[in-house]
Amino acid sequence: MRLTARQKEMRDLGTAAHKTAMKLLVALGDVYGADRLIRVTSAHVAGASYKMVGDPGLEFIEDFAKDARVAVPTTVNPLGMDLERWREQGVPDGFAAKQVRIAEAYRAMGVRESFSCTPYLIGNRPRFGDHVAWAESSAACFANSVIGARTNREGGPSALASAVTGFTPNYGLHLDEGRRATAIVDVKARIQGMGFSLLGLHVGREVGGGIPYFRGLKGTEADLKWLSASVASASDCAMFHIERVTPEWKRARPKGLPRFTVTERDLKAVRREFTTGTDADIIGLGSPQLSAEELRQVADLMTKYPPRIPVWVFTSRAARQEAIGPVLRIEVLGGRVLADTCLEVTLIENVSKTVATPSGKGAVYLPVLCGQKVVMEDVERLLRRYST
């Protein structure tokens, strides 16, 4: 890989963090066949929940933070708990103490304390064509597909390396040829609400990653957030196109690609398959974190169907502040609106055995990361089913 004089200087004469970061980017560039490092306009790092990274991650992040400082605007993924309300969540003191240390290390590096899997909703929003280095598969998929920014699915350390150097290896989704469709998906079903999550799960597994090109699909940006999250959790997919909807569909070149058809029956089968439990202890809404608008919708539905089991709603701190009215309504009706964390990276297993959720990503990860059974259902149906 060719390095510029400035990049070589950073590698050879920079801080310890610069040196490590440059070596890491070069090594990964070699693994993936990159020709050079290119500038990024922002980074989004993962590996912030103590539940996910454990003591090995804490140790690395604290060491690295000693002389690291981010060079581009950088946000960070959810923690393992709400920094204010962790006691209500059943989080033990020892966990909380280590979680606070991780958050502190990121803060010390100059990372914005977003603790969010939806950076694009809270101020870290790239423009079309920007190169960025984003970990968090759902956000990377959204950035590529819906915004037309360019990022690979970064890991925690590689995104952090890009944050402190401002560079990323030039391969994969940074290249025009890496963004072309690899399969056509004809949607022969009416997709709405949770349907976007089911579609993502189905296509992720059937098409097996790559870059699907959807036909016959319409959706709002909010809908595509759910599609991004579920397709990325069911496969290594980091981008999709939707004909006449997403910004790069005209460059997708779908002609001659293998074709798949998705019907209502496929989506029903997916819902059945991911529904492994029968009676939920808790309703979990998030994964990805809800937007302010989605908090309003949940508050309205909860007013209509006051719940008889706990409802945990995951959102970003920014959205919680923006939608303070709906948040209060949810809380009055017995729900909890938790910020800084999300559905499966927190210790939901300390309070529950079966979670009801409309999230496709949640349905994938709750069993493996939290030992939960899942009841997968649209949010309105869930609230109706578990209402007083």
Partner: protein, 244 residues
């Protein structure tokens, strides 16, 4: 040396470097201060941090040798300052080998192991291939079934050696070369055999054996699995048949 993909999160004890994964073929061994060879990494990306922590405590591997490096291991090695070499067929390595690793050049040297280039030729006639059973007089793999084979000497071309072995071991004429397969390596004691595989079509099935072999059989390719053969013979055959 592990022949299986390795997961560091949960697979290796973070404080000691001992391999804990009961599924691993090197469970109970320690990686501390040793050159660790395995095909490639697997499992959680937190494995990168585990490698970092091991190196920081001084109980990480002295170096890592991979067939195909992926991001988890590459990241952990960089974070921990562990030399890493990839593109190596690790199946030719054995636990206990002395090995020198040059991380900058991306090469390894295994001083106690010698490499012997050999040919293995399969003769094919009407859907069956010839296998021969090695006698008691030969130096290695006595009594095992094999293709027609022999050592490549000096600078000679592998295909010339293959033709010569066919003449000597079978006395068959009219063999026509159909395919040369990619090299397959196999380890036997302190020798690595570098096998150059060939497929020839022959007009008949009459074989006259020399002193090296004691029995000849024409078998269907899938029947090879049922015979006690020299190591990796099915793979060698598959490598020439797959594209035939």
């Amino acid at each position: 040396m592990s022949g299986k993909p390795m997961s560091f999160l949960g697979g290796v004890d973070r404080e000691t470097g001992r391999v804990m994964d009961p599924q691993s073929d090197i469970a109970g061994e320690t990686v501390a201060g040793r050159v660790l060879a395995f095909p490639h990494g697997k499992g959680s990306t937190v494995g990168s941090y585990v490698l970092y922590g091991l190196a920081r405590r001084g109980c990480g591997p002295a170096a890592i040798v991979n067939e195909r490096t992926e991001a988890i291991v590459a990241t952990g090695c960089i974070l921990g300052g562990i030399p890493l070499v990839d593109g190596i067929d690790v199946s030719i390595l054995r636990t206990g080998d002395r090995i020198a690793v040059d991380g900058d050049a991306g090469s390894i040297d295994v001083p106690d192991v010698t490499e012997r280039p050999v040919v293995t030729a399969f003769l094919r006639n009407r859907g069956r291939v010839l296998v021969v059973r090695r006698g008691e007089e030969v130096g290695t793999f006595r009594g095992a079934w094999s293709g027609v084979s022999g050592y490549i000497e000096g600078d000679e071309r592998p295909v010339d050696r293959a033709r010569q072995e066919i003449r000597e071991e079978t006395a068959m004429a009219g063999a026509r070369l159909r395919r040369q397969g990619p090299v397959v390596r196999t380890r036997h004691e302190s020798t690595v055999f570098t096998i150059h595989p060939f497929l020839f079509d022959v007009p008949g099935r009459k074989v006259t054996l020399d002193w090296e072999n004691v029995e000849a059989r024409w078998v269907r390719p899938e029947g090879l699995d049922r015979l006690p053969t020299v190591p990796r013979l099915s793979e060698v055959l598959a490598s020439v048949l797959a594209r035939a």
